[in-house]
Amino acid sequence: MNRFALPALIVALMGLPLIVHDAYFLHVMVVIGINVVMAVSLWLLGITGLISFGQAGFMFIGAMTTALLTKNLHWSFWIALPLSAAISGLVAAPVGRLSLRVKGVYFFLVTLAFGQVVVGVFAYFENPFGGWYGIRNIPPPQPAVLFGTLDKRAFYYLSLGLVLVTCWIIYRVSRSWFGDVLWSIREGDVLASSIGMDVPGSKLIAFIVSAFFAGAAGSLYASYFGYISPLVFTFEYSVNILVFVVVGGFASMAGPIVGAVVLTTVPELFRVTGKYQTMAFGLILVFSMLAMPQGIIGAWQRFTDRRAGRPIERQSEG
């Protein structure tokens, strides 16, 4: 990619609300932002070779923390946001310790169970978690003049800010030596530990960081929608996030971003078709998996490689 492309894209995204005022459009953009943060957080775990189905659980923990802190304790959202992320990361430490003892499909089952346990616990205790009814009237961030109105622009910038911070941090980590350790574990964990890499420790850090950002996304969700319930952070949502990453492609961080953007936008385009919306989504999914098994980014790389006459390779650099 051209080195001006990324700054230009960021400037364009920042200027967008100045041109487009449509509330529905901005709403979709906020949701895309939340989904991008979720997808990128899951991708960090993915480059370690781990697939988690419990990401919505960590998001729920972050959302619940923000809901309780801002509504019941009247804390500021700006304190609740980092705290929600931190608590989600804190919960991830023991959960990761236990679940990372197993590999492959067993890890997938343990994380799936974790997601269900979170939903179960929050649904069971009506006080303070609101039970199946969830929690409503979660206050928006301060100042209320900006966030408390029907104008979505403040939330658009908040969401964009969270996306940029998340992507910047995870990109840096993924490109560092620590990121290379994660890639190495995916390539061959036995060899990785034989050259001195702390495989369980590195996996645990990736798991915690991943949960941290899922918690942050949950926090934003809670304050944006003002309503959370166990029916939102379901197993289905965890699967959706994974689908974003798989359809986008694992090879680079652009994958989960593109995946989340495309797969959040496309169903919106089909909203007019009413009950056929999910069907259209499903068809696109099947088609993209058949046509682009390496994801959208993988297909794009193949395309540019072929045009540049380079041999087609698997992902190599981190």
């Binding site: 941090i169 840096r172 980590v173 490109r175 560092s176 030596w177 620590f178 990121g179 290379d180 350790v181 890639w183 190495s184 390539e187 061959g188 036995v190 060899l191 990785a192 530990s193 034989s194 050259i195 001195g196 890499m197 702390d198 495989v199 850090i205 960081v209 390779e313 698997r314 992902q315 190599s316 650099e317």
Partner: protein, 259 residues
Amino acid sequence: MPLFEVQNLTRKFGGLVAVNDVSLSIESGEIRGLIGPNGAGKTTFFNLVSGTLAPTSGRVRFDGHDTTRLPMHRLVNRGLVRTFQHAQLFPGFTVLKNVLMGLHVHARSGFWAGLLDTVATQRHNKALEQRARDIIRFVGLAGHEEDLAGSLPHGYKRILQVAIGLAPKPRLLLLDEPVAGLNHADVDRMMALVRSLRDEQGVTVVLVEHNIRAVMNVCDRISVLQFGRKIAEGSPRDVAQDKTVIEAYLGVADDDEAA
């Protein structure tokens, strides 16, 4: 004092005693061969002393310290590295990146180091690249730095494995069947490499090998395992003439199963 000492090492899998009361000691600068028929417990022995598998009983001492139950990644810091029987490398990385990752213990590799990514960290890790190139040249893979490891011919893959194992600067390198499946020319090249590891890099080497010719040529001393027990030890010449060893490999008239 020996560099590496194993005392009464035993490992049981249920009723099977895979390694049975094996003791050996290896001096610094030695090239030691570990041979034995299939199922003799050679690879299990390697797994036990390299922290891959916990022994049922017995002790392992490396450089004067008890390392019996240390996990593999901690042993690397102390200077003990092993390679694996089946070409273990990072197939999706380039040759250079493979060796570079072998330098992991010398890198600033933590999560926070990566997040902060200071100039000092960048410079430190960048400097390792030169060392990786030196190692690649030393093992004779110069010119292949940018090739994908997974696409190398088999002989080069095995050499790359040794290069990765050499990267952490071990004092003791355990090679698990480094010439398995190689042709004559590649075997000779590997054996020359093993010898130069000792002569030029000062690395003590233990190799498990099926290829008797290779072992006889390169090793100073050879230990022979059969059914988990050490049945002989000595110079290649002594071992080759040892009656129990010949029986273990060729079998005796009334015991074909042992062959």
